[in-house]
Symmetry: C2
Subunit: 462 residues, 2 copies
């Protein structure tokens, strides 16, 4: 890797002072994300305002230096790992909540604000921001927007893309663009806002976001429903989603998940599949909502239904779901966790197909997740130090993606593409669609300095 | 205008047979929209499938012929008027409902399907597609998507952009692209779906859409609330939107609207402003929802609150709202109706500012509309044949836009830009933002054949 040009280093040093870092500790601290991919950057820029972001992008463009935007590095796809060298631009110091506007149901934030910190700040206003990835306490809003993060609540409240009203961003040319704003209806020009969400820092760097807020419901309650098999549970998911009461969460666990939990001592009855269904509302309406959901959950193949109307009973029902990710590690230290999406009606076919892949690979594969969105986490478990298991696990992965695509689904519902799924994009999209995505990349980042090599597959030489 | 090249006409005639029209009646029938702008096309293509659309676009590209996509021409901005000559591509014959998938809460449709026909087809499934523009019975889904149509229900259910899951479209290069699909969560590559919605046929032609459906609520009920003045009503709007029960509709009418209705014999009490607030749910929960909304609506400056729990009482309350548009014509034959958006908290400032403009222009300006989204219809009423009134009306219009922008709002919430607001885009967006929109236009339509001259303002020669 060629060293950074001296003139570039001089410019950034002049611009940022101590906020330009090249010491080994700083480089090391910005070298990986939660995918455990690792690549040292050549420098770390920690701007404090949008003007500095613009100046950094312009310097990178002038000197042809790659630039990787970074929140807190909780992503799982390698999107924040500087595999092409160059610099990491960390938003850690752009973490102000600029405004909370309860009357307009929105908040204006810098990208470095942590999701959890925003939720805390919104609490006194009776509002919340819906995206709830499992890393909510420690991940940044900018990162949430970059990969279109979701979480269990997305079935009712949508993902990050559905909960942003406007953005200020810096494109690959250093241009500051502003789109959308503190309003919920907009037919004014091209929708740059939603285009930037999920583009993983490859089109522009978000420097401010106007977020759509939702009033916090007064009460929550939940159901735990056991089924004979995945098919019966999936049929219940379709029934639940076809009636007017949308659940707050609608989580699915396959037979393997339940076996695993029992194996780890959790109080989970024998069943072929389980749904956790939550509702929110107020004390007056919640019993009716829960009743509507329970009625929809009932049907052929249902074995048992438990209701939790108070917080502590609900916590007990949910304990199993929370215990699941840690429990995976008790089977095998290695885990490939992908968040494929299928149409809700195809959940049984996905679960069945995954079990066939598990048998072929002779490896346990555990499937659970956000069934209301057809967004299931498929976890291939293996011992990385066992060469054969390692090979079989990585050979099974493309087959999981193929299966999801065959069923009319897609590669990712909330983690994004990054490096992890980049090479499968040619299966998900036609050449013409990918060419159009590349043309948009070229339009916003003509020199290809923003997060090069991520999202879009390498182009074949013609 | 130069005639269409003979080779081009030959190609289209070979491709389309009788579905290629150049007779005067056909040209006349595709020359205007509901903005009453008028320009004859040089030919009308009425394809029956996506392959024909691709072939038409390729022929237009090869011969440099402008192409304007068209639904049923109910748009109000001139977006469907072929002002640059060339051909109109009508989707009237691509009007199949391809699939209704209740289990996946989605429908797949061709762009020519009428909004009202889709709603009818969804009725037996207990589902609906939320966008409800006032022209719903006669406007097409493709047109709804092209201008990101909304309607009163958008406050609860969102606009067209919020209710589409995937698109198949033909770009300006003739490339067929496919993005999204029958699933509700997607972090896979660039979000072309939401980018195309609202781009008014300038980036690509939608040939198929996968629409997000919502279960039809079992019951509806409404409130009519009268206030001392617009400020008191707007404060109530903010209160309603800050609590957890989102109304199905939240419509505002200013003092002028109420005067006008009374003047036309409607049974509307004296008041400074009125809100119509609807809720939907089921028989069990609706009374609680209505109660929560009524509590939020109550406050300083409220004069009276009427409840309509059954359909016919509700119809009576809504009769006033429906009578409003026709009533406008009894004041003056000319009407400039713009659908500006402001943050909800700025509604009083908008209403006050508009009344000042009304006084300055010495013309009645009536303001009403979708207050829950801050999306108000500002109607400047004048006699077009009176040169002075005509001039004053058209001089007031830019001031309405300036006011909305000053208040942190934007130009259009549901009608789009077309020709009507194109020249105000330079006030709504920075030069850098417009340059980025132009770069995207260039990326998807490099020869500028798709609906030239719409949405983006003419570029100044440098």
């Amino acid at each position: 890797m060629t060293p950074l040009p001296a003139a570039f280093e001089h410019t950034l040093s002049q611009l940022l002072g101590d906020d330009w870092r090249t010491d080994p500790n700083s480089l090391q601290a910005h070298a990986q994300d939660n995918s455990w991919r690792h690549a040292l950057p050549q420098g770390v820029a920690m701007p404090r305002n949008r003007e500095q972001v613009q100046a950094i992008v312009r310097a990178c463009r002038q000197h042809g230096v790659p630039l990787v935007g970074r929140g807190t590095g909780t992503g799982t796809t390698g999107a924040a790992v500087p595999t092409a060298g160059g610099i990491v631009l960390s938003f850690a110091q752009m973490n102000r909540i600029v405004a909370i506007r309860p009357g307009d149901r929105c908040a204006v934030v810098e990208p470095g604000v942590l999701n959890g910190d925003l939720q805390q700040a919104l609490m006194p206003h009776g509002l919340f921001w819906p995206p709830d990835p499992s890393s909510a306490d420690i991940c940044s809003i900018g990162g949430n927007l970059a990969c279109n993060a979701g979480g269990p609540r997305a079935v009712k409240y949508g993902t990050s893309r559905d909960n942003v009203l406007g953005l200020v961003a810096v494109t690959g040319t250093g241009e500051l663009i502003q789109c959308g704003g503190p309003y919920t209806k907009d037919s004014t020009g091209y929708d740059l806002t939603h285009l930037l969400v999920g583009s993983e820092g490859t089109l522009a760097l978000i420097v401010e976001a106007t977020l759509k807020l939702t009033p916090r419901p007064r009460s929550q309650a939940g159901l735990r429903v056991l089924y004979r098999d995945a098919e019966a549970a999936a049929a219940a998911v379709s029934r639940v989603m076809a009636q007017p009461v949308t659940p707050t969460t609608l989580e699915f666990m396959d037979a393997r998940s339940l076996q695993l939990l029992r194996h780890n001592g959790a109080q989970v009855p024998e069943a072929g599949a389980m749904l956790l269904i939550d509702a929110d509302g107020d004390d007056d309406t919640l019993p009716y909502l829960l009743n509507a959901l329970a009625e929809a959950a009932e049907g052929d193949g249902m074995l048992a239904l438990d209701v939790a109307t108070d917080g502590s009973t609900r916590d007990k029902l949910w304990a199993a779901r929370r215990a699941l990710s840690p429990a995976l590690k008790t089977i095998a230290p290695g885990k490939i966790n992908e968040d494929v999406v299928v149409p809700v009606s195809q959940i049984p076919a996905l679960v069945e197909g995954v079990q066939q892949l598990s048998a072929q690979a002779q490896l346990p594969i555990v499937t659970f997740g956000h069934a209301g969105n057809g967004n299931l986490h498929v976890n291939i478990l293996y011992h990385p130090e066992d060469a054969s298991e390692n090979e079989r696990a990585h050979a099974a992965l493309p087959k999981v993606f193929e299966l999801a695509l065959q069923l009319g689904g897609t590669l990712s519902g909330e983690h994004g593409i990054g490096l992890a799924k980049r090479d499968f994009m040619t299966q998900a999209f036609s050449a013409g669609t990918l060419a159009t995505m590349r043309a948009i990349k070229q339009a916003l980042d003509p020199d290809g300095i923003l997060n090069p090599g991520k999202v879009l597959p390498e182009q074949e030489d013609l």
